[in-house]
């Protein structure tokens, strides 16, 4: 068995700040959106304060992620290579739909050169380049520009509010799927453990990271 260092301390810190932030934002966002039906924070001002403060914290965290990931060149782990698209995606999807039930090995084992499977790369890249920036921009807009949007039409409000809602739904769906897929490691807790310690335990595998391409 081999141990490989997959997530640096900064990545893990950023990840868990995001994780707590996402959950707080999702709960408080739901509270604000469904103020009567989902009043988990008790009163609306509390939910709004939690949402505003957490939103700003996650926005800063998001910018720091780019600075760190570009600065350390760890962005390479996220960039799909020629094998990832579309063949690797199909292989990974087939694994989740068929192989996983038969106890087949993961088609793409983590290693020094590979941190993510193709599906993860595309998903995380999509979250970091599309979902989050749009959510951050519309969120900050709703927070800081609302005073300027007091024009008669309130069209900006509708636009930003609707987009923020759509992407909140997508991010929540991502969060749910992400937490579930995190249980598909060697053991249900393996990926969670890795995200705390930074180390993943590698087992001898018919298709290793080097042979990962189909």
């Amino acid at each position: 068995m081999k141990r490989v260092y997959l997530a640096t301390r900064s990545e893990r810190a950023g990840h868990w700040i995001n994780a707590v932030g996402f959950v707080a934002l999702a709960l408080s966002g739901f509270n604000i959106h469904f103020a009567r039906e989902f009043n988990v924070f008790g009163t609306l001002p509390v939910a709004i304060a939690v949402h505003d403060i957490t939103g700003i914290a996650v926005s800063i965290n998001y910018i720091l992620w780019w600075v760190y990931t570009i600065g350390t060149r760890r962005i390479q782990f996220y960039l799909p290579d020629r094998n990832d698209m579309p063949a690797g995606l199909i292989l990974q999807a087939r694994y989740y739909l068929v192989g996983i039930f038969r106890g087949a090995p993961h088609p793409f084992e983590e290693g020094e050169k590979r941190k993510f499977n193709p599906l993860q790369k595309w998903t995380y890249l999509g979250v970091m380049t599309v979902l989050l920036p749009i959510q951050v921009v519309t969120g900050l807009g709703l927070l800081f520009l609302i005073e300027r949007w007091q024009d008669a039409s309130s069209a900006y409000l509708r636009l930003f509010g609707s987009v923020h809602t759509i992407f909140a739904i997508l991010l929540t769906a991502f969060l749910l799927g992400h937490v579930y897929l995190a249980t598909t490691g060697e053991t249900p807790w393996a990926h969670f453990k890795m995200m705390f310690t930074g180390y993943a335990d590698l087992h001898p595998n018919p298709i290793s990271e080097d042979q990962g391409s189909p």
Partner: protein, 312 residues
């Protein structure tokens, strides 16, 4: 001798009775001439002071509960009395409105009750409009039928034009009864509105009738058809947004406001994040999340079953 004894006895009895009556009369005279309570406003005319001894005495606060369980208070706040529109317009003495015998205690129950229309004949059309609306109110249904009149909510002793009143003063008509005088549930208003995510703020800032009446095209300032609580507004977005009840309706209730809220004012001061939400989008989003939860749960369940079959 016998006759003399009888005469003496009768004299004694009569004397006792006379003494008793005299004592009671003297006590009553004392009541009538007892000094008025201190700190009465100087505008109060001399003629009121005899009544004020009881009815403006904050230490006395006479009250009684009627057959419906409502508490009637016979106390009149002297400062509110001199500030009332009736006092300012010349109805300064109690007997300007109250006819009948007030020399006996307790006052005879058949003393005539003054009515608004005794003086305000010109307001007959408005009175009729309000009366027909008020008859649709919860206050006139069931056990309350016919039990309330104008003065039950709008005390003629303290009434002022709406434009001079704060929202809290307007709400006092509702709050006084539903918190203190007639409160079968025993719950406070805050407790009864606890379902509201912003109960304290709304109880503090807006008029009760903002939610407990609905617009129907009539002159809003005359709405008296207070609805049952099931028909009161309970949807946040019925008010919080452009072209809602708030822009068209609620704004008209606020003290001294010449016009309803503009859309700009609504957006600036009363925007709620859900105000522009779309029900279709909400359902689509909730459906997507439900599908994700269902899909992952099913996947996990099948995965677990297969893993057990493999003996892992």
């Amino acid at each position: 001798m016998r006759q003399a004894g009888f005469a003496l006895g009768s004299l004694l009895v009569l004397g006792s009775v006379a003494l008793g009556i005299g004592t009671v009369a003297a006590r009553m005279a004392e009541v009538r001439h007892s000094p008025p309570p201190p700190n009465l406003p100087p505008e109060l005319p001399e003629e009121v002071l005899a009544c004020a001894a009881c009815h403006m005495n904050p230490g006395l606060r006479m009250s009684y509960r009627d057959s419906l369980g409502r508490l009637h208070q016979e106390y009149i706040d002297p400062n509110a009395y001199v500030a009332s529109i009736h006092f300012r317009n010349g109805k300064r003495e109690c007997t300007d409105c109250h006819e009948g015998d007030y020399s006996r205690f307790p006052h005879p129950s058949d003393n005539p009750e003054p009515s608004c229309l005794d003086c305000h004949e010109k307001l007959e059309p408005e009175y009729q409009a309000i009366d027909s609306m008020a008859r649709r109110s919860v206050h006139f249904g069931g056990s309350m039928h016919g039990a309330l009149d104008c003065a039950s909510c709008h005390s003629p002793h303290t009434m002022r034009p709406a434009r001079e009143m704060t929202t809290a003063q307007k709400n006092a008509g509702c709050v006084d009864c539903h918190e203190n005088r007639y409160n079968p549930t025993g719950l406070t208003l805050a407790q009864r509105h606890a379902w509201h995510p912003q109960a304290a703020l709304h109880l503090d800032r807006i008029a009760c009738i903002d939610c407990h009446t609905q617009p129907s095209g009539a002159d809003y300032s005359f709405r008296h058809d207070i609805l049952p609580k099931e028909e009161a507004t309970s949807d946040c977005y019925a008010c919080h947004g452009a072209d809602t009840k708030m822009s068209a309706y609620v704004g008209g209730f606020e003290g001294g406001r010449p016009r309803p809220y503009s859309r700009a004012e609504l957006v600036r001061a009363y925007y709620l994040s859900g105000g522009t939400r779309s029900a279709g989008l909400d359902w689509a989003g909730l459906t997507l999340m439900a599908l994700v939860v269902a899909g992952t749960s099913l996947h996990g369940l099948v995965r677990y079953r297969f893993a057990r079959r493999r003996g892992r």
